[in-house]
């Protein structure tokens, strides 16, 4: 459903991505891995519309969507989380998730000012649904708490709940396990699998190899902005080039 064709991204003199071809098939868990600075987050930002690629294009359902702003891509079914948390601290967990359903709700100015009955009803349903997503991600206990008063691990899940409320077709998770302890990582693994079970295509960037190998069916390896390898988890793990990039030349031989 999603395809990259020769995607390149240059920031001044730095070639962050070069000639990346990749296909994301519907209904699977995909992972993007690579050493620090390999261009993983840049790739996410290109796909989700934060950057317009300087070369190549991003195709969604066969249509060129490169350079569309994030809000337009969200309307086409892409949702994401952020490596450095992006939650609205002054809103409760529940409201943050309700924000995720933004595109599903009527946004008329007059209706908003007057709180017309239709809007009130839709908002009530949205609130109920938000609670469902908080439960699904295992943080229902924080529903009424301001996000700024929530612990880090719960905020990671809050971002996922918000993204799920947008009813995405593809969910991009930028380092979902970063900063989590061992048991939280295990729970995150369960959550990612549960999302995939709902038929949502998941794409994640992650450093934790155990998590990546445990959940993904397909892995893309980047190094210095180029595609180093791709394929099923076992294939990629056995690839000598990948081992070299991760562990250094000496270990590979």
């Amino acid at each position: 459903m999603l395809a990259l064709e020769g995607v390149g991204m240059r920031f001044g003199g730095v070639q962050a991505l070069a000639g990346v071809d990749w296909r994301v098939d519907a209904g699977r868990v995909h992972a993007v891995i690579g050493p620090n600075g390999a261009g993983k987050t840049t790739l996410f930002n290109v796909i989700t519309g934060v950057y317009r690629p300087t070369q190549g294009c991003v195709l969604l359902d066969g249509q060129d969507v490169s350079g569309l702003p994030p809000d337009r891509l969200a309307a086409r079914g892409l949702a994401r989380t952020f490596q450095n948390l992006q939650v609205v601290g002054a809103m409760s967990a529940e409201e943050n998730v309700m924000l995720g359903a933004h595109l599903c709700l009527s946004q008329g100015t007059l209706a908003s000012l007057l709180h017309l009955p239709g809007l009130r009803r839709a908002d009530r349903e949205c609130r109920a649904e938000a609670l469902e997503w908080l439960r699904f991600t295992g943080i229902a206990e924080y529903a009424g708490r301001l996000a700024e008063a929530m612990p880090y691990g719960a905020l990671k899940r809050l971002e996922i709940a918000r993204a799920m409320a947008a009813r995405p077709r593809v969910l991009f998770l930028d380092e979902p396990a970063a900063g989590l302890n061992q048991s939280e990582k295990l729970a995150m693994r369960e959550l990612i699998l549960a999302i995939a079970d709902k038929g949502i295509t998941v794409v994640l960037v992650e450093h934790d190899m155990k998590l990546v190998m445990g959940v993904s069916e397909h892995i893309l390896v980047l190094d210095y902005g180029r595609k180093l390898a791709e394929g099923a988890a076992a294939e990629v793990r056995a690839n000598p080039e990948v081992i070299a990039a991760y562990l250094g030349e000496a270990e590979a031989h």
């Binding site: 949702a79 609205v88 924000l99 709180h115 809007l119 918000r162 993204a163």
Partner: protein, 311 residues
């Protein structure tokens, strides 16, 4: 919903106030507080909730004030039509400038809105043929279907109704999907965009709403005082409105009213310092901001029961 208790309380307070106030002078001060508070509520939607600075808000106040003055006296419009015309004009102008201006962030946005306010103030001063120039011009009495409020007490009720409605509408907006989108602009623009919020569109909308409220407030002021000068659209007045919002509490509707009250009352209360009143005024403002960086209402709400922090 959660805001009905305080909206009801506010209505009761507004209804009881004129009976508790001993003289016309105090009621006059209260009326001025109410008029300012309407503009500050709008400004607070832009600054406190959506997180966009506006240093030219008095320009929209000026549009309302002069629409009511000029359209009634020179073109014979009924006052209510002039008032509505001012609101429409202010809204249209805000809409036209919103997209180019609100793309800017932080200091740059502050500069751009400052420029807008100054332009409006200069236009009002220079178009002396219509506006009377720096000397200002008298304004006809407000009359609605034969009723014309006269005296502080009658005016009080007109202003109180408008103020309550502004607070009600603003409270509705904040607690709607659109309000969440606006608050998300402030809290995290990347997050807002990632869930489909068209940020430019929402900034423009809230800017228009604030401009319309400022224009209403300006029209009420013009009719109430009976005379307008370019001072109403001046940079100083813009700063005054911003200060009211900040001191009262950003992202707080109750704070807008409290801020308007404090900054309207203080200069009068400090008058006995003779010549030093502005110094005392400044010192008090510094003290409030140091002790209550979130502003009056949010700080107090937090201290006396966290549940009401959102009021």
């Amino acid at each position: 919903m959660a805001r009905w208790p305080w909206l009801t309380g506010f209505a009761l307070l507004l209804a009881a106030l004129p009976w508790a106030v001993p003289n016309a002078y105090l009621l006059d001060v209260i009326n001025r507080i109410g008029i300012n508070a309407i503009a500050v509520i709008g400004l607070n939607l832009v600054m406190g909730y959506a997180g966009q600075v506006s240093l030219g808000h008095a320009g929209f106040f000026g549009i309302g004030a002069y629409a009511s003055a000029v359209l009634t006296s020179r073109y014979g419009w009924p006052p209510l039509a002039a008032l509505a015309g001012g609101m429409a004009g202010a809204g249209a102008l805000a809409f036209a400038v919103a997209r180019p201006i609100l793309r800017l962030k932080g200091h740059y946005l502050a500069m751009a809105t400052l420029g807008l306010g100054i332009i409006l103030s200069i236009v009002i001063t220079n178009e002396a043929g219509f506006t009377g120039g720096p000397d200002g011009m008298p304004v006809d009495a407000l009359s609605v279907a034969g009723f014309s409020p006269s005296g502080e007490r009658q005016w009080y009720f007109v202003i109180a109704v408008c103020l309550w409605c502004a607070a009600w509408l603003a409270g509705n907006l904040v607690d709607s999907p659109m309000g969440r989108a606006l608050r998300a602009l402030h809290g995290s623009e990347p997050a807002a965009r990632s869930v489909g919020v068209d940020t430019a569109r929402y900034k423009a909308r809230v800017f228009v709403i604030a401009a319309v409220l400022a224009s209403l407030s300006g029209s009420l002021f013009a009719h109430y005082v009976g005379f307008v000068t370019p001072q109403v659209a001046s940079f100083m007045h813009s700063i005054e409105l911003v200060t009211m919002a900040v001191v009262g509490g950003l992202a707080s509707i109750g704070g807008s009213v409290a801020g308007a009250a404090l900054l309207t009352v203080l200069p009068q209360a400090l008058a006995e310092f003779e010549g030093w009143e502005m110094v005392a005024f400044g010192a008090l403002l510094i003290l409030v901001m140091v002790l209550m960086p979130r502003g009056l209402v949010p700080t107090l709400a937090r201290r006396f029961g966290g549940a009401r922090a959102r009021a």
